[in-house]
């Protein structure tokens, strides 16, 4: 597991920023009241793009795939959750996305704890 504070804070910043960007962009582009699955699909695509861009921008500072994979997931999940909601502000959408980013980081850390180390 990553134990260096600089990188842990970088992971957190990346996922929060990516999730917030995914949520915000989804709410901005959302056609309003639409079927929940369509909203989720729109959010998934837009959120993943936003997450990838956030990950790419922060990667030079904090790491390569360790930043880009959780950030892309954060954007995607943030976008999907916001895409299923109606009548929320852009600020709320970014906040919900940021919260999803924290959850996605926790998920990726848990997966890392399970997968790391010698496998054969």
């Amino acid at each position: 597991m990553e134990r260096r504070v600089y990188f842990i804070l970088g992971d957190l910043l990346s996922c929060v920023a990516a999730g917030a960007a995914g949520g915000w962009l989804t709410e901005l582009a959302h056609p309003g009241a639409c079927f929940v699955l369509i909203g989720m699909a729109i959010g998934m695509v837009l959120g993943m793009v936003a997450g990838m861009v956030a990950g790419l921008l922060l990667s030079p500072f904090f790491g390569s795939l360790e930043v880009m994979l959780p950030a892309s997931l954060s954007g995607m999940v943030g976008g999907m959750v916001v895409g299923m909601m109606h009548d929320i502000s852009l600020m709320d959408a970014a906040g919900i996305g940021a919260a999803m980013g924290i959850l996605c980081l926790a998920f990726s850390y848990r997966l890392q704890a399970r997968l790391q180390g010698e496998v054969s």
Partner: protein, 204 residues
């Protein structure tokens, strides 16, 4: 014949390579790379040198021959090659078309290389040829994943990524085996994506 498409791709990437990978990614991976490279012994082939970001992780006093397909990358690597406290040369060469003799090296090291070699099994077979029988291949590579949802994400991003730089969904461990190596040890560094692979060229 040199792979001009791959050469052009990495020549284009050379100017931004250190900016994108020189600080965060290198600092993050450095302890793992230092551990892997600390086992360098005898005559070593290092593929691919790139801009030489890995060179500060090499132990001093070794005999290392570096190659890379991109002349622009090698230009950037020159000061790092010159600063290495040991014997090191770097030359432009395509792994598919190396002009080293059979069994010329005791060990081959790679670092984030086989995400980009166009025909990975052929490239790895070429490395087996230049390794002595019983010689060791040690790799620091990123590969595809089997873990949901990252497997789906890497597959989705790959068509874009392969045109700009590396492929993100390769099964490099299987490629090493397909090239005739005996895989001795695989260690996951980040998820099951970034890993070290140790393999042996079987005796003739």
């Amino acid at each position: 014949m040199s792979d001009l498409k791959t050469r052009k791709k990495w020549d284009s990437a050379a100017s931004l390579f250190d900016l994108m990978g020189g600080f965060g990614p290198e600092k993050r991976w450095r302890p793992h790379k230092e551990r892997l490279f600390s086992t360098m012994e005898g005559k070593v082939l290092f593929l691919a040198v790139g801009t030489g970001l890995d060179i500060p992780c090499f132990p001093p006093g070794k005999d290392i021959t570096g190659i890379d397909i991109s002349p622009k990358m090698l230009e950037k690597a020159e000061p790092r090659v010159a600063a290495y406290e040991g014997r090191m040369t770097a030359q432009q060469m395509d792994v598919h078309d190396m002009d080293f003799a059979d069994g010329a090296f005791d060990q081959v090291f790679t670092s984030c290389t086989f995400c980009s070699v166009p025909d990975p099994v052929a490239g790895l077979s070429a490395l087996r040829r230049v390794l002595k029988p019983g010689g060791v291949l040690k790799m620091f590579e990123h590969t595809g994943s089997r873990a949901f949802p990252f497997n789906l994400m890497l597959n989705a991003i790959n068509p874009l990524s392969r045109n700009l730089g590396p492929e993100l969904n390769r099964d490099t461990v299987a490629n090493v085996q397909a090239a005739g190596f005996e895989v001795r040890k695989v260690t996951n560094i980040y998820l099951d994506v970034v890993k070290t692979i140790e393999a042996v060229a079987p005796p003739a």
